[in-house]
């Protein structure tokens, strides 16, 4: 019985391949130029697919990302991201620990922008608990968020530059970032995996002199951003590498669910800080940079302008700081009511959200993360189609992914 099945399967397979070969031959015959019509021209002008592995180990994948490429010479026909190399089971870990214990795990998702991940987590739980965060805590949270946005965009700028051959903006950007990390270290004790927010507010108050030194530092930042712009923005080589690369229209962005600078560079003026204000963003005066083109150069400009706006926001918040409480009234054991909530904020990469399902105990029943890098990475095949292999590096950089967030 099984032999019959096997032989039938083999026959089917053989028939299928014969069918395919015939279809390919006829398609090839239709494609080959009628001028020469010889066998040589037939193979010379045909699309010759080669499958290439832009492997998990590569200096430009910003982490462990594997992209399976189908190329014809240098043109990319298909680019499929293969992620999961950095999966650590974060969402399962959330379920096995209490709410406050989950905050250090959010640091390690988007390790370049830890404060915003912490913030989104805290907002989700605070919404469930219906705790109000005191004003001083709100202002300091916004300052930390914007500093983190500055730091994340500096990393993006440096690594994007170095992928395309401009080696110096990397060092300048990291010099500034070093100072920002020093501020973080002074505030919460760590530079990268901050753990700087607690449910209801903040763990500590600011150290004496922190605000003055921050004001001094932040006043210098626009001049430094001018430096980076002088190196890159008008540079003809930079423009040649980025203008027209990876164009995506506004409708497509909305369809794919892309958020963050990608969306804003395609013309959709959507920023959660403006559209759904949280903390105290509704009283702050800042511009949401938007461009119309949707290519890599526009995304570059949008992020650089966002850096400038972050400087403005921090200065405004510093001016508004007043002494007060830094943590709202939170019970000792956090047991939210059995409800679901989705809370999201604008991280440097896009919209980061936490969908929290609580069952009344002190551990969440389900804590799902909406990671912006993961959702934005989906657009890579769409962006890369038709471009050259050398552009792939620019495209991965412009989507600005962090593998910790993609894989969790």
């Amino acid at each position: 019985m099984s032999d019959d099945k096997i032989s039938q399967a083999e026959k089917d397979e053989a028939a299928y391949f014969a069918e395919r070969a015939k279809a390919q031959a006829s398609a090839a015959a239709a494609q080959s130029p009628s001028a020469s019509g010889t066998q040589d021209a037939h193979t010379l002008f045909d699309v010759q697919e080669m499958e290439l592995n832009f492997g998990p180990q590569h200096p430009s994948t910003h982490g462990v990302l594997r992209v399976v490429l189908k190329v014809d010479g240098e043109k990319i026909l298909e680019a499929k991201p293969d992620m999961g190399f950095l999966h650590r089971g974060t969402e399962k870990l959330f379920e096995t620990e209490t709410y406050p214990m989950g905050i250090p795990h959010t640091d390690r998702m988007d390790y370049v922008a830890a404060a915003t991940s912490n913030h989104a987590f805290c907002i989700a739980v605070e919404t469930l608990l219906q705790v109000e965060v005191p004003r001083r805590a709100q202002l300091i949270r916004v300052i930390l968020d914007e500093l983190q946005r500055l730091s994340s965009h500096l990393v993006w700028l440096g690594t994007s530059g170095i992928d395309l051959g401009a080696v110096t903006p990397f060092w300048y950007a990291f010099r500034e970032r070093e100072q920002i990390l020093d501020f973080f270290e002074e505030y919460c004790g760590a530079r990268l995996t901050l753990n700087c927010m607690r449910i209801g507010g903040l763990p500590f108050d600011l150290t004496p002199g922190w605000t003055e030194r921050l004001a001094e530092f932040i006043a210098d930042v626009p001049a430094r951003i001018d430096d980076y712009e002088q190196l890159l923005t008008d540079n003809r080589i930079w423009k040649k590498r980025t203008v027209g690369v990876g164009v995506i229209s506004a409708e497509e962005c909305v369809e794919w669910g892309l958020t963050g600078p990608i969306l804003r560079a395609s013309g959709v003026e959507w920023d959660l800080r403006r559209a759904r204000p949280y903390e105290c963003y509704d009283e702050l005066d800042f511009v949401v940079p938007t461009r119309q083109g949707g290519d890599t150069y526009d995304r570059y400009i949008v992020r650089v302008q966002e850096m400038r706006q972050s400087v403005r926001i921090v200065q405004q918040c510093l001016a508004k700081l007043e002494p007060g409480e830094i943590r709202g009234k939170v019970p000792r054991v956090i047991k939210p009511v059995a409800e679901e909530v989705y809370a999201s904020i604008e991280s440097p990469k896009g919209e980061i959200g936490f969908y929290c399902v609580s069952n009344g105990t002190n551990k969440p029943y389900r804590m799902h993360v909406r990671p912006p890098s993961f959702i934005n990475l989906q657009a890579l095949p769409r962006l890369a189609k038709g471009h050259l292999v050398s552009d792939l590096v620019a495209l991965i950089g412009t989507i600005d992914i962090v593998l910790g967030e993609v894989d969790r």
Binding site: M101, G102, R108, G189, P203, F204
Partner: protein, 160 residues
């Protein structure tokens, strides 16, 4: 407008601007800190290597409960002390340094004042050659790790 763009393009203004930025930085102050001759002093809240004070510890195991990775192993038993009252005695207080992420939740959970376990020792130089012997800390090493061969208390060397 086209003329102006053509002017820029022809005189390579953008390239000269880029060159001037790097040229200026040639003479600016360099930010390298030449480790190990020069070191940055960690801040007061810096979450580094932790220390335990056995005397202050009341063996409430709140730190072990609060640890997100469950790497604190505490064992204690009751003993009668001189006054005849029951007293907890620590058998084992081990911390698995291989997996600690220095998140400070254990310190936050500790109810004693001052804290019995603290991370603000400003020490981060804990590299070791042998994984198991030095990285799994037991109570002797936690109370005073100056005896441990690889953990160096931090000393600041002034920036030159």
């Amino acid at each position: 407008m086209a003329l102006k763009k053509w002017l820029d393009k022809l005189t390579l203004l953008d390239l000269f601007d880029g060159l001037s930025v790097t040229g200026r930085h040639l003479f600016k102050k360099k930010v390298t800190i030449e480790y190990p001759e020069q070191k940055k002093l960690p801040s007061d809240r810096f979450r580094g290597m932790f220390r335990l004070d056995e005397e202050r510890c009341i063996k409430c195991t709140l730190c072990a409960i609060e640890c997100p990775i469950n790497i604190i192993y505490i064992d204690w038993h009751n003993e009668k002390n001189e006054a005849g009252k029951n007293e907890k005695v620590l058998d084992r207080f081990d911390v698995d340094l291989k997996r600690c992420m220095f998140c400070q939740l254990c310190e936050e959970a500790c109810p004693t004042v001052p804290k019995s376990i603290w991370l603000t020792t400003k020490t981060y130089e804990m590299a070791a050659y042998d994984r198991n012997e030095s990285l799994y800390l037991d109570i002797r090493k936690l109370t005073d790790w100056r005896e441990a061969p690889n953990v160096k208390p931090f000393t600041v060397v002034e920036r030159g």
